[in-house]
Symmetry: C2
Subunit: 355 residues, 2 copies
């Protein structure tokens, strides 16, 4: 009953029409995000520079991929921009947006994954995108952090910064987009989240319930039901992407600056390479975007830019009890109320994991 | 029309009934294969020993996983045995075997992946399995080789040995099982085969056409149509698994012995780590067994024993023209008639890739 009700509300017509220059506005936004983020990352790294490759998509559209390798801080990182068009959306998206059926579509977005070398620095992912297809349009995106060592202060800083960016548009957003992120970046076969999460949202067209994902039994759906329908304009959702996208550097760079000189040894490096395996497992087994891209003639090299430069797998590995490595999995790879739960300090205090 | 005809033939009742002790026979066969192969590999390695872990499956059955790490030759390798039971087969298998619907099922098998350290030694995979579900039973399995450097003689030896094992039961088998292997171990997003192939077969119940896979437009299906229906007994299919399983050591060990002392440098090692990325991509994106296991509460550590110990990804890597690395992709990662095509020498002769 609850499910079909949600479905009904979420597929009603958008309340707000996009402006006449919607595509231009969205394109300019995500291209500027790519530019600003790349500039900020180069400045922070000091040594590494992004190399750009522009490409065309035979079916329409194209993109520019930027990759940094062997920087001072970033072992590998990629920031993509793409703008693509097509005649019919794939079934996986049409399920969520049946009104788009039979219509050609347009999508533009930027996505990024950074893999620092120092294991005390977290891997980070960001993606903001905009779609139009016949009568419907929507925004999607988010950013999430994957630490290899547990630092509570870092987790709180990342979440606090993104919460403020969401709150500046609508104070209800973060309540839904935070658990949505935990549920999306989840490795079912490991019973772990990919990292400490952040925010994630999709199919935002300004109408109905905020949660428009597939897991109608999760926390994000429940909280969204409690909040009820929200009416948001195109301009506000544009501003949300802008606000969250611009929050990326302030959310991530302070963590990098704080820890980049923290010395580490072979043990920490090996644990990082091991945990990077989880990143690969998530992206290749569970990430709908990656799998869809690979199975439908996407640009393989750009899609797989998200994979880490060096990774290892080890059969049956278990970190020692009460080690930092064990705390990572037990506390940091599970959904947590990072900003509200004051018992987290207690769980971590004996392990130098608070700051 | 052709598709529905094939479908009709492949789902008719098996012509031969299994013996009363079929499960016992199959179990003994695959456990002995695991034992013999592990013994042969330890002898060849000289230093590395397999560590065994036995496990139970909550839903019924269990297995024994054996892993070798940091051997003299083998950087990492795993040989699994498992025997599992369940109440209903998953839809992906029921599609191919509709008569099994509503019946409980039994499966026993052994599977193996070995990752040698020396880049001149190929990675190898083997799997032989037996299923029963209500009125139906079938055998499946095969072995395939994934070299990192192109040696024609090695490819021919591996194929020749497996062809002889198939021919000893039915000279038509290899004509279908060889292309079936090329088609199964295919990375569509790279337009590459995983390696040089070998043999692969599934759903063999002794009746109808030999090819019972999903790609009715491929070479395996066409050749199978040309051959026509084959009638094979349970005992013969048991003997096929035995014969092919016993062919593994003679197919692989001579290659190891021949090349294990061949010196290599950092360039070859880096190329091996890069190509291992393709192994991960295949197993996590395309291998139905792996994905099914991970998505349905299989034993994750045993399933992912197939992943290499160390892997790297590099954006946009292209090997130099006419290098051995380039020949690998152009010749060895495409389906070839290894035993019949005499022009392969010509393609490889200037690159020390013949022997």
């Amino acid at each position: 009953m609850e499910d079909s009700k949600t479905q009904e509300i979420s597929i009603q017509k958008p309340l707000s029409m996009p402006p006449a220059d919607s595509r231009q506005q969205a394109r300019t936004l995500v291209m500027k995000l790519q530019d600003d983020i790349c500039a900020g990352l180069e400045l922070t790294d000091g040594l590494g520079k992004f190399k750009e490759e522009s490409w065309d998509r035979p079916e329409g559209g194209g993109g520019r991929s930027r990759v940094m390798s062997e920087g001072e801080i970033f072992e590998q990182g990629g920031v993509n921009f793409s703008e693509v068009e097509g005649t019919e959306l794939p079934p996986s998206i049409l399920n969520q947006r049946p009104e788009a059926k039979g219509h050609s579509w347009f999508a533009t977005g930027t996505s990024m994954v950074l893999h620092p070398r120092n294991p005390y620095l977290p891997t980070v992912h960001l993606n903001y995108r905009y779609f139009e297809a016949g009568p419907v349009w929507w925004f999607g995106g988010g950013a999430d952090l994957t630490p290899y060592y547990p630092f509570l202060e870092d987790a709180r800083h990342f979440h606090k910064t993104h919460k403020a960016a969401c709150d500046s548009i609508n104070p209800e957003f973060h309540k839904v987009f935070k658990p949505w992120c935990d549920e999306y970046f989840y490795l079912k076969h490991r019973k772990e989240t990919r990292g400490i999460g952040g925010i994630f949202y999709d199919y935002q067209d300004g109408s109905g319930l905020l949660y428009k994902g597939q897991n109608q039994n999760g926390n994000a759906a429940k909280i969204s039901q409690d909040i009820g329908k929200q009416s948001t304009s195109w301009d506000q959702l544009y501003s949300l992407a802008k606000s969250c996208g611009e929050a990326f550097l302030p959310a991530y760079i302070p963590i990098i600056k704080k820890r980049k000189n923290q010395p580490y040894g072979e043990k920490e490096r090996q644990f990082q390479l091991y945990r990077r395996g989880r990143y690969v497992e998530f992206n290749l087994v569970w990430d709908r975007g990656t799998i869809f891209g690979l199975q439908t003639n996407g640009r393989t090299e750009s899609i797989l830019m998200s994979l880490p430069p060096l990774v290892r797998w080890e059969y049956g590995y278990k970190p020692p009890e009460n080690s930092r490595e064990s705390l990572l999995t037990k506390v940091f790879n599970r959904p947590q109320d990072w900003l509200g739960d004051k018992t987290l300090e207690k769980k971590l205090e004996s392990h130098n994991a608070i700051d």
